[in-house]
Symmetry: D2
Subunit: 330 residues, 4 copies
């Protein structure tokens, strides 16, 4: 029945461990009580000026999955519809002379979280609040009255790819594998890249290859018979503190859930706690469905894992997210 989406993911309250991390990483007063941008504030002019020094060859990589009706959504997440692009003009002539200007225009309907996208800070709430401790009623049928995606403005900084799949020597991390802070450290060390304040971190699980070959069930991850839920490898609990300590501006992954799903084995039953820690507590903008395959291959080849990343969201006023075509420039 359309009017009441059902409860599919029966889970448990967040355990003490999650709530303690929440206290530790909370940024609510950090940039003023009116702040609507969160960790993007780490990206200063200085950070950007230094970021461009990562450009050596001028090669560019688009990290976006194509926007098409055969997109990444299966209907499992209600209302997150794939892009339906239709034509409103096809070589239309307004002039009575087809040897002069004719024009073709198109229109799209799509979920802002359907494709390669950023989550706006208000995309998640819990305990009645969104980022900054604002009441959840900040979000209404008109969108986010504060902290809309348009407030982010820019996501231009140094990008750093941490290729966890390659670190582990696999094409893709195993189902439900929870990436740890130790993994992030190991990848940075192994890749000989130093993490800096204001960096945008891209974490590769290897999932996107399945989407690229059109196998969405594989992309989502195998179904756990016990829960009926797909099992996705992704960001695990310990990473929040790591992102906090390193003053990361934003984090994106190459999978659909961002974090490990259905849960980190250290907190069984705790559903999507990283969304709450990152978006609500830290004000850390998250990205999903990023295609890191070609970039990762190139980084492996030349050993350069940092680059200038330009991934500013589209300024949807009050938006809860935005499609993005992230461009990495090496």
């Amino acid at each position: 029945m359309d009017a009441r989406p059902e409860d599919k993911n029966a889970g448990m309250p967040y355990p003490q461990e999650v709530l303690e991390i929440a206290e530790a990483v909370r940024n609510w007063a950090r940039w003023g009580v009116d702040d609507e941008r969160g960790t993007v504030n780490f990206i200063t002019d200085d950070v950007v000026r230094h970021a461009v020094r990562s450009v050596r060859s001028g090669r560019r990589f688009s990290l976006a999955f194509p926007l098409q009706l055969d997109g990444l959504q299966t209907g499992a997440i209600r209302g997150r519809v794939n892009p339906l692009r239709t034509m409103v003009a096809i070589n239309a002539n307004r002039n009575g002379d087809r040897d002069t200007f004719c024009t073709s225009d198109d229109v799209v309907t799509m979920g802002l979280q359907a494709a390669t996208h950023w989550d706006g800070l208000c995309h998640a709430s819990y305990r009645g609040v969104v980022y900054g401790g604002r009441p959840e009623s900040t979000v209404s049928e008109w969108g986010a009255a504060e902290c809309g995606i348009e407030k982010i403005g820019f996501l231009t900084s140094r990008g750093v790819l941490l290729d966890i799949a390659r670190l582990k020597g696999v094409d893709r991390l195993p189902p439900a594998y929870a990436i740890t802070a130790a993994d992030l450290d190991a990848a940075a060390r192994h890749q000989r890249v130093e993490i800096r304040s204001g960096d945008i971190v891209l974490v590769r699980t290897g999932a996107m290859a399945a989407a690229r070959r059109g196998d969405l069930p594989a992309y989502f991850g195998p179904i756990d018979p016990a829960t009926g839920l797909p099992q996705a490898s992704g960001i695990g609990l310990s990473c929040a503190v790591w992102f906090h300590r390193h003053e990361i501006a934003a984090v994106a992954t190459d999978n659909i859930t961002f974090e490990v799903f259905p849960w980190d084995p250290s907190v069984p039953g705790a559903i999507l706690p990283m969304h709450c820690l990152h978006l609500v507590e830290m004000g850390l903008t998250q990205g999903q469905n990023w295609d890191l395959e070609a970039l990762a291959a190139d980084c492996h080849e030349d050993g350069q894992y940092d680059f200038l990343l330009e991934a500013s969201p589209q300024p949807f006023v009050g938006g809860l997210g935005s499609p993005v075509n992230p461009v990495a420039i090496k």
Copy 2:
């Protein structure tokens, strides 16, 4: 009546002068007969590597108009609808415990040419063809089978602002003023900026200030009683050769029609010939509705009129255009 958009812009065949320029600027075989990217090919790795040298302070400027229902469209261009963003989840909890993850998602319906955007190469056709001499049937109800906006891939290069309004000492160019190649040269000279192959040129008419204060009729331009059409200052006929000679990768303006409208006084009655010359003949991607106000003020202040510009389109497969959030980094 919906099924047949009416002829509003009765005009005349393109005169010989336009057709001669068409011959002169045609790029159809330049990058191979299968080329789908046109002048974007001028943006080589070298060009990008040099472009980043324009970054000095790290300051960033977004050149996008906000995406909202109160947008830039008035209904005059049929089907080009302003962004209608609606919610499909509002703090929705799937877990039975609102102290855990709740989520808010949104969906948009919008014209791909409604806001700050790039025209895809197939956005215009004339004489039965689109870019490369492909038949106009390349565009169907499913979009552009070739030369879709997703083929552009990247629009990352050095950007150069040519502030024609300031050159003329006015806030905004007069209605129906046709910018000339001489104007472009004069602005470059006056601004002490050298144009290079692969540059993306941003031409300022001053129109956007009207849109920013919510006055769309003023933004479009005053109605000419003789034609019933708005009169917009914009790119004039002689500019095509200038862009061609300088190997410009893409050009964007701060008005709704890009070119002077309804026509350049040198070719009265010729409607929108620049769209045909640029998109069809040259394969030159055009941008419209760019907000150049803050950037122009800054360039005037520090005298630096070039910058790194990242304005890659969203990869709509077969798309005739794409909204864009162009970011200039100085």
Copy 3:
């Protein structure tokens, strides 16, 4: 700003007079506490069987305004967008042989209240409740969990046109004229039609002629300089008791606001109380933007003001309203 629609209609609390009528007409327990259909329950099989006896000649009248982008909405009611119909297939052949089946399909985006429509019972709330005393939280981002428009099922009954404009001898009622119960009685008497339990009453103000000639500002009504609001003639306060006493199943009008706007002179400052009395208290389904012009002319000519009316809504699950093509059969 998109995220917070502004307060346009500053008004006053409902006065005691409105609240007393609310008590008098409340139907919350009338058809059981679980009832989701309200006064539509008056339409029994017997009522329908008798209704068909109104058919004498077999002539039919469609009471719908055409569904098109040039529709009845001006943007004044945010999000109520006119129908944008686009094509997803145009003579598309899937077979390689155009001498066999080719097909054309279309898609629409439209406000369910944008055109000739029914309001679902949950379209209005006040004092925290919707019909039946259900909490207003019955309506969420997914629609109406109870009392959705699909629950109405049928709106097939005897229709009776009460032509108040003709009663008053005018083409259209004056701006802000509040139709009274006495007017309804006088029209019925003058038209020699008896009102029966289960009837669907159509009330004509004469506004639709303006919409038919494309003059939407006139259709909405002249702007009152004091309030900045359009002044529409429509259903006035005393009608609620009349509808209640006569056991009317549903009521529709030929204007945009249904009731007099901005307010009935007997309760100045009380904005849209009839919506609350009818939808919330009585469970009386309301229709707006019905085109009664041709039907009214015919009824005047032959003196027959009753007919079989078939106006069942489209079964949008959880819908707050539905476009309808009402057909009157005389």
Copy 4:
């Protein structure tokens, strides 16, 4: 790839048998060369006046499948998207006093052929023409310039259910079973119902029960391993002449393809010829996805297989089809 829908249904030219029927049933000049309504012209005032005599008890049956995101479409027919209904106002108060009028509005995006619907006459073309011999270019990106669904106006007449599944003593006809003219005659005889000029005939295959229990693959029909296509029972070749001879105004079925699919065994390889015969040649409006289950059970019980049917389409200007909530009144 979005821009070019693939050829899925490789088939063969229509054989001589189909073309001979085309000649026999063609109605192009029948109601004048400008006719845009086809066989709906059979529904005269007299026909309607007689149709209401079928009403005996006043019981009503809605034949529509619910309009919801979990609808009848699977994505197999590109662009025919299920209804996505979203909210643009949720108990929104414009008055500063929630004890006065608050309002909830919604918007829908849906394929006009996605749910229970009528095909407009231009929904099919072949041999370069649509109904009346008009060129196929009658249909453009703006819809049908002639013969749009709004031209139908009314579909109100006597309805007759022909329950072929029950005639054959099965819950559902076997996969790919082609209903014959002899079946229609046998059902009418067995049901003791006489067919009259202007009737709307509803043909039951029994498929809808599968859709009602949420099993869309079963609803479409089992996949034929040889062709990869679903096998649907439906209207077979000989029915066209039968509909023509009986002067049927419109025909609807309870399956997704209307006609037998992939083909009638008498013309193997001929894909969807009935669409061409009915829509292009006869101007016979077709309905699909009608839910005939409850109506059929009732007709079986009381032996009355005729009724007043009100199923007028929504007046989408230039529309290729329309959702409909058909109401049968017995």
